[in-house]
């Protein structure tokens, strides 16, 4: 399910529109991940707090969204572009890949909350596909 040229353009365009709110959306998305899927807190046991809305969670959400934006710039070759991030996730973080889907869903919820008009079904499918491709690229080195 790779992105068409039109869908790549749609993704770049929407992320451009989103850029002023990207920190908020990133922070909120990770907060929602631990709120809606509490089992994901297992990856953050080393933090002082992994509860929704807490400072470490929001800060990390911003970091992750930064990575997503970086990936938008590498949308034509995600596997090559995300090689080192993939190694990080495969050998150090070892996040179960199912969680990428859960976080992607939370990101989509936040995008639709903040940009209800712009997040049309057509934008939704393009962004959903992009996040799925991103997740695949992150899993590249897993096994």
């Amino acid at each position: 399910m790779s992105l068409s040229a039109k869908q790549k353009a749609t993704v770049k365009d929407f992320f451009g529109k989103m850029s002023t709110r990207s920190d908020d959306i990133g922070a909120e998305a990770l907060s929602r991940l631990v709120a809606v899927y509490p089992q994901t807190k297992s990856y953050f046991a080393h933090w002082k707090s992994a509860s929704p809305g807490s400072a470490p969670v929001r800060k990390h959400g911003i970091t992750i969204m930064g990575g997503v934006y970086d990936a938008v710039g590498k949308i034509d070759d995600l596997k090559a572009g995300l090689l080192s991030l993939s190694e990080l996730h495969a050998f150090m973080l070892r996040v179960d890949p199912v969680n990428f889907k859960l976080l992607a869903h939370c990101m989509l919820v936040c995008m639709s909350m903040v940009f209800p008009e712009e997040f049309t079904p057509q934008v939704h499918v393009a962004v959903d596909k992009f996040l799925a491709q991103l997740a695949l690229a992150l899993c590249e080195k897993y096994r």
Partner: protein, 147 residues
């Protein structure tokens, strides 16, 4: 049996008393058919569903979206017996419509996004959690009679 907190019960009743079924139902089903195109396999008699524009303007899709959303009413009224409430509907989806139950999960995700679009920041993380828990119970129940 599923255990519900008072917050969860109140949240579910609140959501379903506030949403406009005529807007949210069609929006959710439309999104599902656009974002997960393989779901169109179940609606061959709805006419041309080849692209987003066709789907978004389709009256049969809109009407069916409302119908499906009202299908959740029985769960709202019967939160302690959701699985039993959906026995018949589960059999129907399995034996008559032959719907892959994973599709219920896809529609549930689209429903959460449809409500998020309507409510904005009022769709708080706690409310989202309660709503998705409710939907996952319905999704499970709809798949329960498959054999």
């Amino acid at each position: 049996m599923v255990e519900w907190t008072e917050f969860e019960r109140d949240t579910i009743k609140d959501i379903f008393s506030k949403i406009d079924y005529d807007v949210v139902g069609p929006a959710a089903l439309t999104r599902c058919l656009v974002v997960y195109p393989w779901t169109r396999r179940y609606f061959g008699n709805f006419g041309a569903l080849y692209n987003a524009e066709g789907i978004m303007g389709n009256e049969m899709v809109a009407n069916h979206g409302k119908k499906v959303l009202h299908g959740l009413d029985r769960a709202v009224k019967n939160m302690d017996h959701i699985k039993e409430s959906y026995c018949e509907l589960s059999q129907l989806h399995s034996d008559q419509f032959h719907v892959d139950p994973d599709n219920f999960r896809l529609l549930a995700d689209c429903l959460a996004i449809a409500i998020a679009t309507q409510w904005g920041s009022a769709f708080t993380p706690d409310i989202q959690a309660a709503f998705q828990k409710f939907l996952s119970v319905v999704v499970f129940s709809l798949g329960s009679q498959y054999h």
